[in-house]
Symmetry: C2
Subunit: 350 residues, 2 copies
């Protein structure tokens, strides 16, 4: 391999889950930054905000009143991008004009009645309630005949387009399998056909053997930075044993997933001592009514921050037009993440 | 097609250039916005800034001095993500670990000596100089045996990660064909095999016939919003006759491209009366030394703004994890763009 090394030299890495390549430019961390910085206005948050449309007992824009919920709470998104009450339609005109109507359901999931607590600040029991609700929603939505895919996700932080600080996530469930999970469907199927095993679990085994990108593990899940991670502190929570979807998970496994979710987000918050923004979500078996032994549920985290609490990685220009690109390597990110204390920085201060 | 219509109902559209689908949720424009807003600090810009590393005669971070250039000026990026002086290396380990060294060259292109003028504010003659320099760079870089792809692009505005307001663009040229142009390569090749003609020109002909998404045209180029546009005001400049790359363009065609570039960016600035941020760039024939009759050069524009000069579209959560999604339709964007005055708002004020 000559003098080439992954810590210093520009290279590409292949993502076998999506079949796409990543550009890595490790030497680029040295570049000065005079560009846009985000604000970290972490205002004193209150336990209950009378103006928040997610707090218990409050009235939403459409006039509905939230119950005085004590654990988690989910409801239909008042401004959902997907709705189920549309007529069907299709357009196929030559090679250039193809479109079809798309039915779906959008839901909002409140993680806790507390306006001021995020996942890393909740206890594992409370986070487990979130996972339990995800399972219930996945089962309910997935059972509908016109729903073939259920995307559960969380946008955290205003820099990620989140317009309400009350801890919550979303679900968009729909007729078609969207672009990203489709790529995984294709690659997981091909792998399963070749080896008779699911790809994600095999990958986790390899990473555990190497132990270069593992952040932590518990009985059922591993937190790791994938070899092909795109975002500076991208990470994945993946199972050690085959679990196609939430539908198959028992109580102990749900607790293990909650434990991993909390562990990773504590690491995140500790890096820059801020509530770390990200988009995160679950990729799991599509809900077309068939068995999907090729799938393993896994959770992906895409955080934008790069150099500090205020300087993010911009996925623009080259990245939009040509290829995803990152500066610090996956392995450097692992070092930074693993060196964080296990306690949340707010607790250790208290 | 029942009661279904594209202006009101959720649907998906297919992009034949990339082979991927888009989610359109037209009804969603009605949702209230309490989230992050960008600043529009359009500070009084000066013609010459002694601290700008792109202004003529100034010294850059690495000690090099810019010439006192009068038109355009290009130089090697002092912090390039791709460099040519790295050793070669490759890693292939089972199904999960594939990587290879990547050589390349990154260059910076100053559009004008004037620190304060952007493309829509320069005259067509000055913009033509930019196109001429693009051609020269594409020819020089593309001729190198280890360069198989040349990505020319512009990040405009701090919201797009641009760290210097001096009008400039970049070029990243490299060994491999990146992800986005690869998708186009595949679809353009398939189309060419089927019809013996290039896809982009055929598409432009269809759009001209329909005249629903055309913004303007001149002798050689058309400005349009593609049927499958993702960003709120995404647009494309594409040729009416087959032009595989800048290498084939004569002076008149270069002037026509400059004219289109200026026309579109004037429309953009006029929407919200602000210097409109975007990432833009050219997709054209790859530079592997072969003929590419399947390619037509075209320029794509991805602007983030949605509702106002300060509220952008966030491509987060669902979009990152599942599928690109837009609120206003391509056709609504066309209406807004076409209703703009032909003069730049700053000129009409003066
Ligand atoms: O090269 P610049 O302008 O410093 O950097 C900007 O453009 C690059 C290419 O699109 C991106 O990789 C960076 O994230 C962005 O900040
Ligand atoms: O639904 P919200 O939180 O209002 O909106 C946010 O998440 C959505 C799903 O990722 C995105 O489409 C929006 O751009 C973003 O602002």
């Amino acid at each position: 391999m000559s003098d080439f090394n992954f810590e210093d030299h520009s290279h590409r890495r292949y993502n076998p889950f999506t079949g796409e390549w990543l550009q890595v430019s490790p030497h680029r961390g040295k570049r000065p930054w005079q560009g846009q910085e985000e604000s970290t206005a972490e205002d004193e948050k209150v336990e209950y905000d009378p103006k928040c449309y997610l707090c218990p007992g409050n009235t939403r824009v459409n006039g509905d009143e939230n119950p005085k919920y004590e654990g988690t709470y989910s409801f239909q998104n008042d401004f959902g991008a997907l709705t189920q009450d549309i007529p069907e339609g299709e357009m196929v005109e030559g090679e250039f004009f193809r479109a079809k109507s798309e039915k779906g359901i959008c839901r909002v999931i409140c993680f806790s009645p507390r306006h001021d607590l995020t996942i890393p600040e909740l206890d594992v029991e409370a986070v487990t309630k979130v996972v339990e609700l995800w399972k219930k929603e996945y089962l309910d939505l997935g059972a509908k005949s016109f729903i073939n895919y259920v995307q559960i996700f969380e946008n955290k932080g205003s820099v990620m387009g989140c317009s309400n600080p009350h801890p919550h996530g979303q679900i968009w469930a729909q007729e078609s399998v969207p672009v990203e999970p489709s790529k995984k469907q294709e690659n997981f199927s091909a792998y399963f056909e070749k080896y008779g095993r699911s790809m994600v679990v095999d990958y986790v085994k390899e990473e555990l053997k190497k132990d270069e990108r593992i952040l932590f593990e518990n009985d059922y899940f591993v937190g790791l930075v994938p070899f092909w991670a795109v975002w500076p502190f991208e990470a994945m929570i993946a199972p050690k044993v085959h679990i196609a979807s939430l539908a198959e998970m028992d109580q102990v496994q749900m607790e293990a997933l909650a434990d991993a979710y909390k562990k990773l987000t504590i690491m995140y918050d500790n890096i820059f001592k801020v509530s770390f923004p990200y988009s995160a979500g679950l990729h799991q078996a599509i809900t077309d009514g068939k068995e999907h032994p090729e799938w393993d549920l896994h959770m992906v985290f895409y955080p934008p921050l790069l150099r500090s609490a205020t300087v993010k990685k911009f996925m623009v220009g080259y990245e939009m037009l040509a290829n995803p690109q990152r500066d610090i390597t996956a392995e450097s990110a692992v070092k930074i993440l693993k060196s964080q204390p296990k306690e949340h920085y707010k607790e250790s201060v208290a």
